[in-house]
C-alpha cells in the first residue's frame, strides 16, 4: 500500500504528529528505528513543560512553547497521561543574576507567558522552604508543569494507532527515493514503505534523514546526565527549581517528577550520538551544583542515574520546521531540543499545517476518538473500582513490582495494548515495573516470565531493550 504520510521517528514530536494526522482521513505510518517508541531524546530529559520565558521573542521556539504548554493539560487529560501544573522558579544567587532574571521576565511577557512574577529570596523560601538561604530572588512562573515524556509519547502513539495509524518498529531508514509522486523509504534490512508525504522527526538522526531528502543540516548531540531520587525525597520541592543561566551554562535543576520522585540535573556536554553513558565527573557536577539551590538533597536516596541526548542543530538555535527545499512533499522537523517537549503539541499542529501547505488534503475523520480508551491507570482507581476490576480480571490483584505496586494486570495491558510492549524496558516505561527503589531486582524474573508467555517466546529470547540485549543465555545444566 501507499500511505498518505510516513513519519520517520517515533519520539514525542513524531508520536503527537501521528496522532494529529489521525484526526484526518489519512493513512499514516510511523516509522521507528528502535524496538519501541520514545527511545531517543524523548526518553531522557528534564520532563518539564516550560513556561516559555526562555526563548527569544519572535522565534518559533517562543511561539510554539507558549502555545504547546497551554495545550498540554487538556491533551494529557484526553490521553490519560499524568500532568501536573506545579509551576517553576528561576533562582538568582546575586545581583547580576537577578538582573538576568528580570530580563527573563521581560522576555516572558513579550512571549505572552501567563503567571510570571519576580519575587524576593525570602518569598521564594516561603513558597519552597528547602531553598538555600543564598538565593537573592527568583522568577516565579505559575504556568509551567511536569509530565512524563515517554508516557506522553506512548499514549499519543497508542491513540494514533487506535485511530488507524500504523507503527513500524525496528525500521532503520537508510534511503529515501522519490519518484515525483511517492517516496520509497528503505530500511537497512531491505524492507520498504511507500508514502506520498514524509515527515522527518528523527531527532538526533534528523540530519541524516534530511540528507536522504536532499537537505543539509548538522545535528550535534548534547549529553545531559541526571540523577533520580527515591519517592521519599520527592516532596523536597513542589516547584521545578532552575538556576539562572550564566556563561558557564544553564545550571542544574531540582524538580519533582509527576511520579513523585526527585530529579536533579542535567549536565550539558557535546558528545557523539550513540553515547548515553554516565560519567563520574558528570554525577559529581550535578551534586555540587544542585546543592547550591537546595540544602538538603539526600544523595543517599539516589535510585538511578541516566544520560539523555539533546538534538541541537548547528545551523540554528531555533526549531527548524519547514518544507524540504529539494522535495516539496517532505517536512523537516530538525533541531527540536529544549523546549521541544513543551512545544510538541503545537509542533504537531504546525507540521500538519505545513503538510497542508505542501498540498496534502486534510479532511476531518469523523470517527476520530482523541481519548485513550481502556487505559485507566489501576493505581489511580478507588478501592471499590479496584475490587470491581480484580473481580473481572484477577490478575489486577497480583502485585508484581512491589516498589511501585504494579500488578500483573497492568503488565498484561502494557503488552496487549497499542503500542505493545515487547521488552523489559518497554514494560517498565509503560507500567513503572522495575522503576522503583530496587530497580527491578525482584520483579525482573517475573516480568520476563510474563513477556515470554504473552509473546509465546522462550524466556531467553526476552530482551531488556531489543537487539542483542538478551537477559538470559538458556537453561542451566
Amino acid at each position: 500500500m501507499i500511505y498518505d504520510v510516513a513519519i520517520i521517528g517515533a519520539g514525542v514530536v513524531g508520536g503527537l504528529t501521528a496522532r494529529q494526522l489521525s484526526r484526518y482521513k489519512l493513512s499514516v505510518c510511523l516509522i521507528e528505528a528502535g524496538c519501541d517508541v520514545a527511545l531517543g531524546a524523548t526518553k531522557a530529559n528534564s520532563a518539564i513543560v516550560h513556561g516559555g520565558y526562555d526563548p527569544v521573542p519572535g522565534t518559533l521556539k517562543a511561539e510554539l512553547n507558549v502555545k504547546g504548554t497551554a495545550m498540554m493539560e487538556k491533551l494529557c487529560e484526553e490521553l490519560e497521561v499524568h500532568y501536573k501544573n506545579n509551576g517553576s522558579m528561576v533562582v538568582a544567587f546575586d545581583e547580576e543574576q537577578l538582573e538576568h532574571v528580570k530580563k527573563l521576565y521581560q522576555r516572558g511577557i513579550a512571549n505572552g507567558v501567563p503567571g510570571l512574577s519576580v519575587i524576593s529570596g525570602d518569598r521564594a523560601r516561603e513558597i519552597e522552604p528547602a531553598l538555600s538561604k543564598n538565593i537573592a530572588g527568583a522568577l516565579l512562573c505559575e504556568s509551567s508543569g511536569i509530565v512524563c515524556p515517554y508516557d506522553l509519547t506512548i499514549a499519543a502513539v497508542g491513540n494514533a494507532m487506535d485511530n488507524g495509524a500504523d507503527l513500524a518498529l525496528g525500521f532503520k531508514v537508510v534511503d529515501i527515493k522519490d519518484n515525483g509522486e511517492n517516496y520509497e523509504i528503505c530500511s537497512d534490512d531491505g524492507a520498504k514503505i511507500q508514502a506520498r508525504y514524509v515527515v522527518n522527526s528523527a531527532g538526533l538522526y534528523s540530519d541524516e534523514v534530511a540528507r536522504m531528502l536532499g537537505d543539509e543540516y548538522h545535528i550535534t548531540a548534547k549529553k545531559g546526565e541526571y540523577m533520580l531520587l527515591d519517592k521519599s525525597e520527592g516532596g523536597l520541592v513542589k516547584k521545578t527549581i532552575f538556576q539562572t543561566p550564566t556563561k558557564a551554562g544553564k545550571g542544574i535543576l531540582v524538580s519533582p517528577t509527576v511520579d513523585g520522585n526527585l530529579l536533579v540535573g542535567p549536565t550539558s556536554e557535546k558528545t557523539d550520538k550513540g553515547d548515553k553513558a554516565t560519567t563520574p565527573g558528570g554525577l559529581d557536577t550535578i551534586k555540587e551544583k544542585a546543592s547550591m539551590s537546595a540544602d538538603n538533597i539526600n544523595y543517599r536516596a539516589v535510585i538511578t542515574s541516566f544520560t539523555g541526548l539533546r538534538a541541537s542543530c548547528d545551523e540554528s538555535d531555533d526549531f527548524i520546521l519547514e518544507i524540504s527545499k529539494h522535495s516539496k512533499r517532505a517536512i523537516n522537523a530538525v533541531g527540536i531540543d529544549s523546549p521541544g517537549l513543551s512545544s510538541s503539541p503545537a509542533i504537531a499542529e504546525y507540521i500538519a499545517q505545513l503538510l497542508s501547505d505542501a498540498g496534502l488534503k486534510l479532511e476531518e475523520n469523523a470517527d476520530f476518538c482523541g481519548r485513550r480508551v481502556n487505559c485507566k491507570h489501576f493505581r489511580t482507581l478507588s478501592e471499590a473500582e479496584k475490587n470491581e476490576m480484580i473481580k473481572k480480571e484477577p490478575s489486577y490483584g497480583r502485585v508484581i513490582c512491589r516498589c511501585e505496586t504494579v500488578t500483573e494486570g497492568e503488565i498484561l495491558e502494557a503488552i496487549r495494548q497499542n503500542p505493545k510492549a515487547t521488552t523489559i524496558d518497554g514494560v517498565k516505561r509503560r507500567t513503572r515495573a522495575g522503576m522503583g527503589r530496587c530497580q527491578g531486582g525482584f520483579c525482573m524474573p517475573f516480568v520476563t516470565d510474563i513477556i515470554a508467555k504473552e509473546l509465546k517466546i522462550a524466556r531467553c529470547q526476552v530482551t531488556k531493550t531489543g537487539g542483542k540485549s538478551r537477559l538470559l543465555f538458556g537453561k542451566t545444566k
Binding site: 548515553k276 558528570g282 490483584g397 531486582g441 543465555f473 537453561k475
Partner: protein, 423 residues
C-alpha cells in the same frame, strides 16, 4: 472487617518463626501474609547448604531450612495467604492496627490486628544506588536476581562474569555460576576486607581459584546492548578510584553484591521511627517498635549474617507479640527505659532501647562493627560501671556479634548503656 490477634507481614524465615512462637505462646488467631507464591522467602532460592547449624545442629539447604518452619506452620494450622501484597498499615481508633492488603481472590481487603509483626526482609542495593557510571546494557544484575533466575527459573543469566561486592550472596553466586559452567573472572571488593562470612570466601572463592580483589571497584560499565566489559579500578584509602590503576575486563555479566537494605517502606508509612544505620525500626529488647503493638524481626529489622539468628530473633518478637495480646494489649511493667549507644568500632546495636522491667530477663544485644579488629575488647558500660568486658580474637563487619546482659547486670542499670569494641 476481618480481624486477627496477630498479623505477620512476610512468610519468610522471620515471619514463619514469629508465627510459630506466637502460636506456641498461646495465640491461635494469626494470619501470615506473604507476597510470593509460597512460604519461605528468599530461602526458596538459596539452594546451597550451610543453613541451620546453630538452630538444628545440622547443615541444611535454604529450601530445607524453610520447609522445617513451613511444616511447623502447617502442623499448627496457622492460617496464611500467599500472592498477597500488604499495601498499608494504619492505626485503628481502638489502638489496634489495620493492615490493608490485596490479592486476586479477595481484591483489596482490611484486617484489624491487635498486634503486627513486621517480617518483610530486605532488598539488594542496585546499580543505580551504587552510581556506577557507564552504559546501561542488559547483563547487570543484583546477585539475588541472578540467583532467582538460576535456582527458581533454571536459566543462565551470564557466561563471563565479574562480581562487584563480596557480600555473601555474591560469594555464593561466584561458586554457583562456576558450577554451572560460567567463567567467574573475579570478585571485586571496594573495602580492604570482605563483607562476607569467612567460610564463604574459602568455600566459594579459594576452592575454585576465583580471585578476590580487595580495594577494587567497577568504575565503568561498557556495552550498548549487552554488557561487553567493565573497567576495574583500584581505590585509594579514601575509596576513590585510582585512574592509572585501572584495567578493562571483558565480560557479559556484572553481578552486584554490595549490601542489603531492610525493606521498610511499610514501616515508614506507618510512621514508625527507623535507625539510620540499620535501616530498620528502632526496637526494644522484645523487638517492639516505637509503635505499641508493632514488632519487627529478621532482615527487615537489621541484616543478619545467618538465618539461624533470624529465627531466634523472630521467635522473640512473635512470643512478645503473643504476650502483649494475652495480657490484654499490655506490656510488662517497666521501671525505666534506657538507650543503647555505640562506641569504638561498633556501628549499631539491636536493640537500640532497653526497657528495664520489674521482672527482668536476660537480654542479648546484637551488634556489628565497622572495621576488622584483631584481639578486640568488647565492653558494656553503664555510666562509669563496667557491666561486662570480654576479649575476642577477631571481629569483622561481615559477622554479627552479641553480648549477653544477665538479669543481675540489668538490675544495676540506671542510665544509658554503651557497647564498645576496641583494639
Amino acid at each position: 472487617m476481618r480481624t486477627c490477634d496477630i498479623a505477620v507481614i512476610g512468610g519468610g524465615p522471620a515471619g514463619m518463626a514469629a508465627a510459630v512462637a506466637a502460636h506456641d505462646a498461646g495465640i491461635k488467631d494469626i494470619l501470615i501474609i506473604e507476597r510470593d507464591e509460597g512460604l519461605g522467602g528468599i530461602l526458596r532460592q538459596c539452594i546451597h547448604n550451610g543453613f541451620g547449624l546453630h538452630r538444628f545442629g545440622e547443615e541444611l539447604t535454604g529450601p530445607e531450612y524453610a520447609d522445617r518452619y513451613k511444616k511447623m506452620v502447617i502442623e499448627r494450622e496457622i492460617p496464611y495467604v500467599v500472592k498477597t501484597m500488604v499495601l498499608d498499615i494504619t492505626k485503628s481508633d481502638g489502638g489496634d492496627h489495620i493492615v490493608t492488603a490485596m490479592n486476586s481472590e479477595s481484591g483489596v481487603f482490611h484486617i484489624n490486628a491487635k498486634a503486627v509483626v513486621l517480617a518483610m526482609g530486605c532488598r539488594e542495593r542496585s546499580r543505580g544506588q551504587l552510581n556506577i557510571p557507564g552504559d546501561r546494557p542488559a547483563g547487570v544484575y543484583s546477585a539475588g536476581t541472578a540467583q532467582r533466575f538460576m535456582n527458581i527459573n533454571g536459566e543462565m543469566p551470564g557466561k563471563n562474569v565479574v562480581i562487584l561486592g563480596s557480600g555473601d550472596i555474591g560469594l555464593i553466586m561466584a561458586r554457583r555460576m562456576t558450577l554451572e559452567g560460567a567463567n567467574v573472572k573475579m570478585v571485586c571488593e571496594l573495602m580492604p576486607y570482605s563483607g562476607g562470612l569467612n567460610r564463604n570466601i574459602v568455600q566459594c572463592l579459594h576452592d575454585f581459584n576465583i580471585p578476590l580483589k580487595l580495594s577494587h571497584t567497577v568504575s565503568k560499565i561498557h556495552g550498548k546492548e549487552r554488557v561487553e566489559g567493565v573497567t576495574v579500578s583500584e581505590v585509594d584509602e579514601h575509596l576513590r578510584v585510582i585512574p592509572e590503576k585501572s584495567e578493562y575486563v571483558e565480560c557479559d555479566t556484572l553481578l552486584l553484591s554490595c549490601g542489603l537494605l531492610p525493606e521498610n517502606e511499610l514501616t515508614k508509612s506507618a510512621g514508625i521511627p527507623l535507625d539510620r544505620i540499620t535501616g530498620g525500626a528502632v526496637v526494644n529488647q522484645n523487638r517492639r517498635t516505637e509503635d505499641k503493638g508493632v514488632y519487627s524481626c529478621g532482615n527487615v529489622l537489621h541484616v543478619h549474617d545467618l538465618v539461624d539468628y533470624v529465627s531466634e530473633e523472630a521467635e522473640l518478637a512473635g512470643r512478645s507479640a503473643a504476650e502483649y495480646v494475652l495480657a490484654g494489649k499490655k506490656e510488662p511493667e517497666c521501671i525505666k527505659t534506657v538507650n543503647v549507644h555505640n562506641a569504638g568500632a561498633v556501628r549499631y546495636t539491636v536493640p537500640q532501647v532497653v526497657d528495664i522491667y520489674k521482672e527482668p530477663k536476660d537480654i542479648k544485644i546484637y551488634f556489628r562493627v565497622g572495621a576488622v579488629l584483631n584481639n578486640a575488647t568488647i565492653t558494656v558500660k553503664c555510666g562509669e560501671k563496667t557491666l561486662l568486658s570480654k576479649k575476642k580474637r577477631k571481629v569483622a563487619p561481615g559477622e554479627m556479634e552479641f553480648v549477653l546482659l544477665t538479669e543481675k547486670m540489668l538490675g544495676e542499670v540506671d542510665s544509658d548503656i554503651i557497647v564498645s569494641a576496641e583494639n
